[in-house]
Amino acid sequence: MRILSALVVLLALATLPFWVSGYILGVLTIAYLFGVFAMSWDLLFGFAGEVNFGPTFLIGLGAYSAGLLDNHGVPVWLCVIAGAVAAVFGGLILAVPALRLRGPYFGLITLVAVLVLQQVIVIFAGVTGGEIGLTINDVLSLDPGHNYWLALGFLLISGIVLTLFSRSAAGLILQASGQDPIEAQVLGFNVVKHKLAAFAISALFSGLAGAMLVFYLGTASVDTVVDISVGVQIIIAAVLGGRRTIFGAVIGALFLIIAGEILRPLGQLSTFVVSAVALGVILFFPDGLVGYLLRRRERA
């Protein structure tokens, strides 16, 4: 029943390019990529129990690596793969020492990583375009429909892979490591290895999505892929949708991006309203939208 309704929704989403405007497709394309960011973050936070304040470090690495390679004439698909590799590589360099730390310290290191990356991009403005951004000459596709399908397909594949991983044996060990690392260790599981694997997977999808976003937007800039405020939005999306659900992160991301678009006439106040709604959800439905529904069904 659940799978059937999911298929119906998916089919409906897949036919959107035939009957809605390019503008709506554009908003949804970005929302889907954003959903991948939020899902990757939820894998680390919800399951591994690590607060990563720097999802944009991974996304930015992927985005800028892909963009810089593209400017040197490398084919687009190779750039996207290279972006993902760069994100995993950078993520591991960050995570291997950082995972020795717990709680706020791990969070702080990831936060600092973003600040350093941001400064490096601004300082090497000659190569990276600095604060103005890097112009990218290639696109994934000129047709908004194709871009939409690519993003939707990518979201679907990422969602399936992440969900399967989180429900696999390794995912359960990961969850145990997040909730009680000592007990997990006593049971003979290698906590650090599992967390590293989670970090690498999170980095892989963040980097891929970052690279795709760059080719969709046609530009890589600090404000769109690196800035802390982007990271904050990802965190809000994941918590809003419901942590430890993977799927909830997508709903949260869709809500955030679409609400941001609808509230655009409010101007500067739109961010205020979105933050206030998110704060309200955290205060009154700490399990998030999806978590709340799941729990109600369990009780019924």
Partner: protein, 291 residues
Amino acid sequence: MLALQIMVDGFAISTLYALGAIGFSLIFGVSGVLNLSHGGIMVAAAVAAWFIAGPLGAGQYLGALGGVGIGVVVALVTYGVVVRPIQRSRAIPHDETEIFVLTGTLLWGIMIQEAIAYFFSDSPITVRPLISGVVDIAGVRTPANEILTAVICWISIVLLWLLVNRTAVGKRLLAASINPRGLTLLGFELSSVYLMVWVIYGVLAAIAGVLLATFLGTSSNNIGVLTASAFSIVVLGGLGSVSGSLIAAYIIGYLETATAYLLTPTLRTIPSLLLLVLVVYVRPQGLLGRR
């Protein structure tokens, strides 16, 4: 000459950093809260001071006082509306309270930022200095306001030290940071202790915010950076250690000033960020932190 210039300028900036970070550290030490709306409270106080002094025409002294008052009010609202409900919520698992407080205060900080940008402006403002004039310190021309800033900060820090170590209220704060359950068993109301610490925190953060704005100017866009710098200083010094924050503030303040003068101002924050990363790797509990 240059060395002296760095000494003088670095001192004022470091002292401001210290005052901002000490409040942040105090809150964490006593109630275990990392308040990510810290920068928001500082900037709200500064903007209030600017608005009362300038557009309302009440002069810089009333402005500064009003700014501190508003800062305290915002701090109390942060506690009452965001932190306390999360701590008391039954729906939030106990071991996840910390991350919810982090996320909640982060959102609250963004709301403060957007509200200031909407009702006032997001372009930089400068609060009028409390005193004007320039003093010559061994050949370095220093604005008198910079000296006054350092003096006010140090008076506040000393007063805080006296309050914590020499008064009954302060002893209760200390006790709450060491063993909250013990304090409750002795018949003290823990929530009134927390209320007290948020008032003290509000005063400290607001003074730091107003003084920073007379000195470097401020804008709602600075909120994130201010929070991040307080967070880094506190972690470098050791979470919950007030004297550690003090030392760390001077290290970071001087490192930044020296970089700005000796290399280039654009690199200003890089060495301190790298130092922070290094310290956290080698000694995660910070300089004076307890495990």
